[in-house]
């Protein structure tokens, strides 16, 4: 999205125009992401309003503690990300690298826990499809719940993987000294993206894990 050298791309007049354009572009992209996840949230809301009991019962089959740990992990990663942006602006190259690396590691921890959860659901026959098993009367709507669980967390995980890839690129370039207080827009933009993915999870956690505890 942004130009990758300190040079100003030919279509821009000056660095400020370039930076403002990139940031605006990222915010617009995030607005599209809001609508992207919004569509699936809407589906969740419609079904939850129709099948509150089944959704609660199904939600109780999720491991709230794993969800809680993952939320904390993701918040920590957002924190290291924001520090990385700060380091880039303050010309703290070493710290920038450290914080980017920490963010990547935390992202991987999140995904690993998520993968473990998926594995558990597989073992418990809670993956939608022929082998789905749930106490009879609530089974159909519970299967809808788990369909949303996998679709929502899966879509979120895909965004995490893309984010980790972007962070890897930043880390590589930070090591080569690409970023300076004059030019760190890519770090900022990836930061915006990463925080957005964090925000999505902040909503997913209560909707999927918590709402079932009490109606």
């Amino acid at each position: 999205m942004s130009e990758t050298s300190t040079l100003i791309a030919h279509q821009f007049d000056d660095a400020e125009q370039q930076r403002e354009s990139s940031t605006l572009g990222m915010w617009i992209f995030l607005a599209t992401e809001v609508m992207f996840f919004g569509g699936i949230f809407l589906g969740y809301i419609v079904y939850r309003s129709q099948y509150p009991i089944a959704f609660a019962a199904a939600s109780n089959r999720l491991d709230i503690w794993l969800g809680l740990i993952n939320t904390a992990v993701l918040i920590c990663s957002s924190f290291t990300m924001v520090l990385a942006v700060y380091n880039a602006a303050a010309a703290q190259r070493r710290a920038l690298q450290t914080n980017l690396l920490l963010t990547i590691v935390l992202g991987c921890v999140f995904l690993s826990i998520k993968l473990y959860e998926y594995h558990m659901k597989f073992e418990e026959n809670l993956v939608p499809g022929a082998s789905f098993a749930f106490p009879a009367p609530l089974a159909p709507a519970a299967e809808i719940f788990f369909s949303f669980y996998f679709a929502m967390t899966g879509m979120h995980a895909v965004h995490m993987v893309i984010g980790i890839g972007l962070l890897g690129g930043l880390l590589f370039r930070a090591g080569r000294g690409w970023y300076s207080p004059e030019y760190f827009t890519p770090v900022e933009l990836v930061g915006l993206y990463w925080h957005f993915v964090d925000i999505v999870w902040i909503f997913l956690f209560p909707l999927l894990y918590l709402v079932g505890r009490h109606l």
Partner: protein
């Protein structure tokens, strides 16, 4: 390309040669050409599907093709025309070429993203073509569940993945336009000096950016349901068939405005140029574009009046649908008023523009029937709807597209097209179009449902008329294809401003240099400043062309 031809001046076409220089270009003008070629390809493909449909409908019996084949034909016709021709048509070709030039910028804000969006479009197109080649898809372009998610045994997943991918091309184009229009305007180019073409593209971009992602996630859910047996829309689990329709139309109704808004922008330019006047009520036309974009998001439920949607919601959607008619009406009235005391010439682009107003008016007014709850119950999912949206999409968007292509052809290629042929083609298209689609209004009110491979015999007369019209319409489309290609080599060399028109694009040479302008222009006047209130003007009037 005409790049090998004189003038020897260096411009965007002859600055470099070879396929590679085109495939890795980041020049918005060259990317516009890439899009022009690809959407023309899809237009031809989609048109061929339509030819077979119209031939099949010549007789009431399903005799030319099998029912399954017919179902695939109309599905692929809809998919290619909507997602691969109409939606990218004006924005990705004319918008790409003109948005930076019209605001005095050297390029779009993100040129590489622009190129990427063309590759994404091509990739999506490849998926959809692959689906078509592998045996097609038969759900209709609307992909209603549970037919698409469970029952259809055609290549639904491949097709929706193709559309999903192409959606990102739309999103990136819209994003690029919004940032460019906000951040890259030349000095002096204030918001209310922008050409109405730019306002229209800004409004379109908002829909691109905020609507397309919803279609994307909806299609992903359908694909997940087909591929991994997730139960999102499955009625056997208690899934809601109407939920899909809400999600689908949340994008796909505004998508109609994606098609028509840029055409409206083109028409504003044409009317102003060929009547030598500023558009009457410029501010109102500009804000009408934004109003259409915003209100257009609130009306999707009018596709669902008989779907089982609640009566209460239907009423809300009905009244909002009437509201969106108002800004469209404002535009039509203002264009008409612009002609008053103008100096109207009948060049081919103007013929397309006037044709647009007429056809769009019919398309818009018949929309009132569909927004009216009591009438929609009867005409929903009949040929009345088909006729209505073809008046908007073909009579409106395609006429606008062709008018724009003719108008800016000298700018894009440096050559003029043969005016006589162009006027003839415009006339043929207008007549052929009406003959094709007007009978379908009658068919619809008589009750002929859409997507029917075979139909009761009482509908035959009107169907034959429609097919006859389609053959005329088809001829009208082939003629420009021939003479425009011919003009690349043999057309007269056009000067910088062959129409003696206002607008920054006419101040630079034809074809423009890679950076669009030798020096960044300084804007000191309103759009369409053909003359002031006393009739003082700095551009001579073109002589009237021979009729």
């Amino acid at each position: 390309m005409s790049a090998a031809q004189p003038p020897p001046r260096i411009h965007y076409l002859n600055v470099s040669y070879g396929i590679r220089s085109w495939l890795v270009t980041t020049d918005h003008k060259r990317i516009a050409w890439l899009y022009l070629l690809s959407i023309t390809f899809f237009f031809v493909i989609g048109g061929l599907f339509a030819v077979f449909m119209r031939l099949e409908l010549l007789t009431p019996e399903g005799d030319l093709v099998q029912a399954d084949t017919y179902n695939k034909l109309f599905t692929l016709h809809g998919v290619t025309m909507v997602f691969f021709f109409l939606i990218p048509s004006i924005p990705a070709v004319l918008g790409n070429f003109l948005v930076p030039i019209m605001i005095g910028a050297r390029d779009l804000a993100f040129p590489r993203l622009n190129l990427a969006s063309w590759y994404i479009y091509t990739l999506g197109g490849a998926f959809t073509l692959a689906a078509a080649a592998a045996g097609g898809v038969d759900t209709g372009w609307t992909f209603y569940t549970p037919y698409s998610s469970i029952y259809s045994n055609t290549h639904v997943a491949l097709t929706v993945v193709g559309i999903f991918i192409t959606g990102f091309s739309s999103i990136l184009t819209g994003l690029n336009f919004i940032v460019t229009i906000h951040k890259m305007r030349a000095p002096g180019m204030t918001w209310f000096r922008l050409p109405l073409f730019i306002w229209a593209h800004y409004a379109t971009s908002i829909i691109f950016v905020l609507g397309t992602p919803v279609l994307a996630i909806t299609l992903v859910l359908v694909a997940l349901e087909r591929l991994f047996h997730l139960g999102i829309f499955d009625p056997a689990l208690g899934g809601d068939p109407i939920l899909f329709q809400h999600l689908f139309w949340f994008y796909s109704h505004p998508a109609v405005y994606i098609m028509i808004l840029p055409a409206m922008g083109v028409v504003s330019e044409l009317i102003a140029c060929f009547s030598r006047k500023r558009i009457f009520g410029y501010d109102f036309v500009a804000f009408a574009s934004l109003a259409i974009a915003v209100i257009g998001f609130l009306v999707w439920g009018h596709h669902m009046f008989v779907s089982g949607q609640s009566v209460y919601a239907s009423m809300v959607f009905s009244i909002l649908s009437f509201l969106v008619a108002i800004p469209s009406a404002i535009k039509v009235f203002n264009w008409t008023a612009t002609l008053y005391k103008g100096s109207v010439s009948y060049d081919a682009p103007m013929l397309y523009a006037l044709g647009f107003i007429g056809l769009f008016t019919i398309g818009g007014l018949t929309g009132l029937f569909l927004a009216t709850l009591g009438i929609d119950v009867h005409v929903h999912d009949t040929y009345f709807v088909i006729a209505h949206f073809h008046y908007i999409m073909v009579g409106g968007a395609v006429m606008g597209y062709l008018g724009g292509i003719h108008f800016w052809w000298p700018k894009m290629t440096g050559r003029t097209y043969p005016e006589g042929w162009a006027r003839l083609a415009a006339l043929i298209v207008f007549i052929g179009f009406n003959l094709t689609f007007f009978p379908q209004f009658l068919l619809g009110y008589l009750g002929m449902p859409r997507r029917y491979h075979a139909y009761p015999p009482e509908f035959q007369v009107l169907n034959v008329m429609s097919t006859a019209g389609a053959s005329i319409l088809g001829t009208g489309y082939v003629i420009p294809l021939i003479y425009l290609i011919w003009s690349l080599r043999y057309g007269a060399v056009a000067g910088a401003n062959p129409w003696l028109a206002k607008g920054l694009e006419w101040q630079t040479s034809s074809p423009p240099p890679t950076d669009n302008f030798e020096i960044t222009p300084l804007v000191t006047e309103e759009a369409y400043a053909y003359a002031d209130a006393e009739g003082e003007n700095d551009l001579p009037l073109r002589k009237p062309v021979d009729v």
